[in-house]
């Protein structure tokens, strides 16, 4: 028998929403249907935010 290893779509979506919430983005606005390019940019923005906060933490350490 075969096991299909696919992540359910709703799981992906909820993760995306989680990331967008953290980054303060409105995902519904950012994600018109079928525009994978914009998904990538949202994720990229969230990743840059992550770097910012980690760099800030180091900076504030004395």
């Amino acid at each position: 028998s075969t096991t299909t290893l696919t992540t359910p779509q709703n799981q992906v979506e909820s993760l995306m929403h989680e990331m967008a919430d953290e980054a303060g983005l409105d995902l519904n606005m950012e994600l018109p249907q079928g525009q994978t390019g914009s998904v990538g940019t949202s994720v990229a923005s969230a990743e840059q935010d992550e770097l910012s906060s980690r760099l800030a933490k180091l900076r504030d350490q004395v």
Partner: protein
């Protein structure tokens, strides 16, 4: 010149910026993982920061040719990269200064 400025449909360079971001994110994440540990090998972190900084600079230098929403999004990403570039550079200077003074004392 007109051939250069007219953005080709569907293939805007937001993708290019995103790729630089990806590379920079990877390098700076590595630097941070080392840097965040007190016992981390700071010389190594310095090297990763430098690589990340150079990728950020390349991404920031890209002139966005996308339109409308796509432009806004790419611009926002670039703005964040500018911010992180400054922060990573500050961190790099600090680390290098610390390392230099350590070498003097030894």
């Amino acid at each position: 010149m007109s051939t250069k400025t007219s953005p080709s449909k569907g293939k805007d360079n937001a993708e290019v910026i995103k790729n630089y971001h990806k590379q920079a994110f990877e390098y700076i994440s590595k630097a941070l993982r080392i840097d965040e540990k007190d016992t981390g090998e700071k010389e190594e972190a310095v090297q990763w920061y430098k690589r990340g900084i150079s990728e950020l600079e390349k991404g920031i230098a890209v002139e966005i040719n996308a339109q409308g929403e796509q432009y806004e999004r790419a611009k926002r990403l670039q703005d964040k990269m500018v911010n992180n570039l400054a922060m990573a550079k500050d961190r790099l200077v600090l680390l290098e200064t610390t390392l230099a003074s350590k070498q003097k004392n030894v």
